[in-house]
């Protein structure tokens, strides 16, 4: 029981790190980035190459995955995404679906279509018991890393100048511009960090979520659910949503395997029925 809770929390934390970038870009630019999962996949494969082929330590692989994915994010944001911000949601959806398709086929071409695993250090394998609760070492690591990241994000948002600029831009981009905040620069930086975090999440999560070229398609729904349920105005919303969904998904798959996958979809639809306006009202009102 507690083990499931623990696994669920680890899963939820992972989802949060993967999806928080998406929630901020959605809130900030009102931009539907369905290709967010592609960055996560990029992070996963970068770590795979570094650790499995080049023999770097796992921690270095994670760090480099973060940096490289963030750079890829900046590159894409500056060259491609900027042209699409002003367009209708339909165009944004088409554009990012196109990117997803391209990334899936490209990774398939370069890395092969089979599922791959990153070699994690042997110290992180296995599980141990505390008070009768089985705790996987790797999952504990995920909780620690993701927990620290969440704290760091929250501190950055609430206590730094960049954080207040970002919050101002999310609240009202036009007024923020009027106050002399360079919203585009804020957005590029946020996009980079969001992509980097997705990359890190993809690398960390390869062990749990699996990693193959269809990753962006498979997990797109999960990210979107997190964002839909959690809202886009803060990071506490997506955080809570990630935990709920992580726990619900793990528990659902464990207790009612037959209806496992329905659990999260049902949660999503119930939330949408109960709070249809609350979720995207701010974005729609602009």
């Amino acid at each position: 029981m507690l083990t499931i809770l623990f696994d669920g929390i680890a899963y939820g934390m992972l989802l949060f790190v993967l999806a928080c970038g998406l929630s901020v870009t959605l809130g900030l630019m009102n931009f539907v980035n369905l290709a967010h999962g592609a960055f996560a996949m990029a992070g996963g494969y970068i770590t795979l190459i570094l650790v499995n082929r080049a023999g770097l330590p796992f921690s270095a692989g994670l760090a480099i995955a973060f940096v490289v994915t963030a750079l890829i994010g900046v590159l894409f944001e500056r060259t491609l995404y900027v042209h699409v911000y002003g367009k209708s949601p339909l165009d944004q959806v088409l554009f990012t679906i196109g990117l997803v398709f391209m990334s899936v086929a490209a990774v398939d071409y370069v890395m092969g279509s089979q599922q791959v695993f990153i070699q994690i250090p042997s110290a992180l394998e296995g599980r141990f018991e505390i008070f009768g609760v089985g705790i996987g070492r790797y999952r504990l690591l995920i909780i620690v890393i993701c927990g620290l990241l969440t704290l760091a994000l929250q501190m950055t948002l609430s206590n730094t100048r960049f954080g207040s600029r970002l919050r101002a831009s999310v609240d009202d981009a036009r007024v923020a511009r009027g106050l002399g905040i360079n919203v585009n620069a804020v957005f590029t930086l946020t996009f980079a960090i969001g992509s980097g975090l997705a990359g890190l999440g993809g690398a960390l999560g390869a062990e749990i979520l699996g990693l193959d070229p269809t990753f962006p398609l498979k997990y797109m729904v999960y990210f979107l659910i997190v964002v839909t349920v959690g809202g886009t105005s803060s990071i506490t919303g997506p955080f809570a949503a990630s935990l709920v969904i992580g726990i619900a998904d793990v528990a659902g798959k464990y207790y009612v395997p037959k209806f496992g996958a329905f659990v999260i979809y049902t949660i999503m639809i119930i939330v949408l029925i109960l709070r249809p306006q609350g979720l995207f009202a701010r974005a729609a009102g602009r």
Binding site: L26, V32, L80, H83, V84, K87, P89, L90, D91, Q92, V93, L94, F95, I97, G98, L99, V100, F101, M102, S103, V104, A105, A106, D108, Y109, L217, M220, V221, L224, I225, T228, K258, F259, A261, F262, Y265, M268, I269, L272, I273, P276, Q277, L279, F280, A281, A283, A284
Partner: protein, 360 residues
């Protein structure tokens, strides 16, 4: 108040003018008819084009005319597909045309039930809800392998002769004639609907829901109606697929199918009925061609096309189709700009009035 019926007569006249058959439309359907006789070797792919065109037409009804973005239109397509296959397999309703209709009606019921979810929230919420519905449908099909065959798909389907007369053959001759007939009949129906006052009110809703409700158009009821109707079309398209291939698999619910459908419609152009039809022709030919070049990676090129379309801009892509439309326009324009039109000049508002298909 001397002649209160004058505006009514004017509107009726205009609607009739708009609904006139243009020369190019005759050409289009004659070409389709000719393909039945002239291209017997290509009937298999033409069959695919026919049901895809119907599917795209269905999406055009809600996207192009009502402005509802859907990422889960495959839900209705898949439902129709499975129902048709199941009815044929277990000989519940073995006659294909009747089975087709029943599949469509069931899909419409699902569309009606889920339409209330679609009414809520913004475009983003709609994307999520429609996607969620399609995924739930897929999961249901996946979880009851006893009925649907699960991941292996539903095999062993034998489709009875159409109307008890025409047996499906392996070359797809009958299948193509069948699909084309269904497409044509449903196209006529859709054409009738979008040129009706109801169709006009949908465009008004798409243009500005608030203003539409201010002139006493019941926005939600219209959206529910057209969504249900589009689901009916999608269900029939899915049933056509199942009947012509005698197979149904989880693939019919997949996200890629909904996404490809958007591409089909975007290639052809939204908001005029031929968009889906032309898009289906181009998409299938393109897919066929690319798949011959790189069987495994054709998705990459499809993705590239999507990205390029958005970067270049759909308006500019749409320009080439509007050239074709412009050819068909002047004849009807001249009538519409007659003496009556001068008395009631059309307002330059977006959406409602104007040339059909200029929605985007």
């Amino acid at each position: 108040m001397a002649t209160p019926s004058a505006p009514v007569a004017e509107v009726t006249h205009r609607l009739a003018m708009r609904a006139r058959w243009r020369p190019l439309e005759y050409v289009f359907w004659l070409a389709a008819l000719a393909s039945v006789f002239l291209l017997p070797g290509r009937h298999l792919i033409l069959t695919e084009i026919a049901w895809l065109a119907l599917f795209a037409l269905s999406l055009d009804l809600i996207l192009g005319y009502a402005g509802i973005i859907s990422l889960g239109h495959a839900a209705f397509f898949g439902l129709g597909s499975y129902l048709a296959a199941l009815m044929a397999k277990h000989a519940i309703i073995s006659e294909p045309v009747l089975a087709l209709f029943v599949s469509g009606v069931c899909a419409a019921v699902l569309g009606f039930a889920t339409s209330f979810l679609v009414l809520r929230g913004s475009d983003l919420t709609r994307l999520m809800v429609t996607l969620g519905v399609a995924l739930i449908m897929r999961e249901i099909a996946n979880q009851i392998p006893a009925i649907t065959g699960g991941a292996d798909g539903l095999q062993g389907v034998t489709v009875a002769p159409i109307l008890g007369l025409f047996q499906f053959d392996i070359f797809g001759h009958v299948a193509y004639a069948y699909c084309l007939t269904v497409l044509f009949i449903l196209f006529l129906l859709a054409r009738r609907i979008v040129y009706s006052p109801f169709g006009l009110s949908l465009r008004a809703v798409k243009g500005n829901p608030l203003r539409a409700s201010a002139i006493s158009i019941s926005v939600n009821a219209r959206l529910v109606a057209i969504y249900t109707f589009a689901a009916f079309y999608a269900g029939i398209a899915g049933a056509l697929l199942a009947q012509t291939t005698a197979f149904a698999s989880l693939d019919v619910f997949s996200f890629e199918r909904s996404a490809d459908l958007l591409l089909v419609l975007i290639i052809g152009g939204t908001g005029y009925l031929y968009g889906g039809l032309i898009g289906a022709v181009i998409f299938k030919l393109m897919q066929d061609w690319i798949a011959n070049l790189t069987p495994q990676y054709w998705q990459f090129w499809i993705g590239l096309v999507l990205v390029l379309i958005v970067l270049v801009g759909r308006e500019r892509i749409g320009a080439w189709t509007s050239a074709a439309r412009a050819l068909a326009e002047p004849l009807t324009r001249r009538f519409a700009r007659g003496p009556m039109a001068a008395a009631y000049p059309s307002s330059p508002g977006k959406g409602g009035e104007g040339v059909p298909g200029e929605g985007h």
